[in-house]
């Protein structure tokens, strides 16, 4: 195993005093797992909750598609009602 190809083997630069820090680096693994777990939990928690009362989805008459509805906003903005989808911009307004 080369560190610098053709010049330096892995055994070369490794010294005795380097070993304990190698062990300490495990602390980074542990801390990163803990912190990313917490972050993931904070991100996912709101997904499990019902929308606040009084908060309605977008409806017909809203001007323009809501951006979070993606490139085919119809089904999201008028769920279960394909017939009333606006066919033109004027009709939507």
């Amino acid at each position: 195993m080369w560190v610098v190809y053709g010049l330096l083997r892995t055994a070369g630069p490794l010294r005795r005093s380097m070993r304990p820090p190698g062990g300490l680096a495990v602390a980074f693994v542990l801390v990163y797992f803990a912190v990313f777990s917490a972050g993931t939990w904070y991100s996912l928690k709101p997904d499990g909750q019902a929308p606040p009362a009084g908060e309605l989805g977008a409806k017909r008459g809203d001007t323009g598609p809501i951006r979070t509805a993606g490139i085919t906003p119809g089904p999201t903005q008028n769920p279960g009602d394909p017939d009333v989808l606006p066919t033109s911009r004027e009709e939507a307004e």
């Binding site: 005093s17 304990p20 912190v35 917490a38």
Partner: protein
């Protein structure tokens, strides 16, 4: 044409990077250290929001200092890091905890107390570790065969603990004067009180370290007290006393902006004092900057890189501070 010594230029770049890091991350670490003394709610929100837009930019300078040392003075990097790994690792983990606290403390009211503690604990550990690292370098590093030859706990002595606490006090001074500038109402009143106490603590620690260091090693003593160097070196504590006078006067008169800049000036003088003690060594009495320097071609190559990136960093840093100028209020971007 006079020959330009790139090694000196690189030493200046790294000294500038370290100074920029110390004063900028210094005041936001200081706010972390003082955080528990502020009331939950408006006061703490103001304190945190005053640094939320700039703290991560401040830590860029740590990367420049560390990366620059590795690139420009590889021998110094190879000696100093093995001597202080536990401190460096403690500092980085402290920075991780305080960094995420900025985002996580707002997510769940039940967890706020925990992340506030992580913010303070992380800030304190980082500040302490930085001071102790400086102490470990100043007290002398055992070198044999171009490598660290000391033992695993050389960095833990009364002297390094003293400097660690000194840095904690100094950061608290920077943090409290920053809050005097950026906050209003009860948070500002509290910051004035803290700034006054932190100034006393900082000057006391600065005095203690300044008296301790020359007696640590005869070389330090000669640098400070032997003529004609004494004439130059004695200006540092004199100027510090003058700035300290104006700092206390500014706080007493409830000036808002001046105390922060005066605290910054005291740090600059501390850095100058460090220069008197260390120049031209990078590992005191063992390795000079010329011993540790990278080959000439590497220095040139990296100087071009720094020449491009440093103006960029200074530019966006300045812009960020400009955008978020003025009093902070309680509504952050969170």
């Amino acid at each position: 044409m006079m020959e330009i010594d790139l090694t000196v230029i690189w030493a200046a770049i790294i000294a500038f990077g370290v100074f920029a890091y110390v004063v900028m991350d210094g005041f936001d670490l200081g706010i972390g250290i003082l955080f528990p003394t502020f009331a939950v709610g408006d006061e703490r929100d103001q304190a945190m929001n005053s640094i939320a837009p700039v703290w991560d930019g401040n830590e860029t300078w740590l990367v420049l200092g560390g990366g620059g040392l590795f690139a420009a003075f590889p021998l110094a990097y190879a000696i100093i890091l093995p001597a202080t790994y536990p401190l460096i690792i403690a500092m980085l983990l402290g920075l991780v905890f305080r960094g995420v606290a900025f985002e996580f403390r707002w997510r769940d009211p039940k967890h706020r107390a925990f992340w506030d503690m992580a913010f303070t604990g992380g800030s304190f550990v980082a500040a302490m570790a930085q001071g102790m690292t400086l102490g470990a370098i100043l007290q002398g590093v055992e070198v044999a065969d171009r490598a660290y030859a000391g033992s695993w706990f050389d960095w833990l002595t009364p002297y390094t603990l003293l400097i660690g606490l000194g840095v904690v006090a100094g950061y608290a001074l920077l943090g409290s004067t920053w809050l005097v500038w950026k906050t209003e109402g009860s948070a500002q009143d509290h910051a004035y009180k803290l700034a006054f106490r932190a100034a006393i603590a900082t000057l006391a620690m600065l005095g203690a370290v300044s008296l301790y260091t020359p007696f640590l090693d005869a070389n330090y003593f000669d640098r400070w007290f032997k003529m004609p160097g004494f004439l130059f070196a004695s200006q540092v504590p004199l100027a510090t006393a003058i700035l300290a006078f104006f700092l206390f006067r500014g706080l007493a008169k409830r000036r808002e902006v001046a105390p922060f800049w005066l605290a910054l000036g005291i740090f600059l003088l501390g850095m100058a004092g460090l220069g008197v003690s260390m120049w031209p060594y990078v590992v005191p009495d063992q390795v000079t900057i010329w011993d540790a320097a990278a080959p000439y071609r590497s220095q040139v190559f990296m100087l071009i890189g720094v020449g491009l990136t440093m103006p960029l960093i200074i530019g966006y840093t300045g812009w960020a501070y400009w955008v978020f100028r003025g009093k902070v209020g309680t509504d952050g971007y969170h």
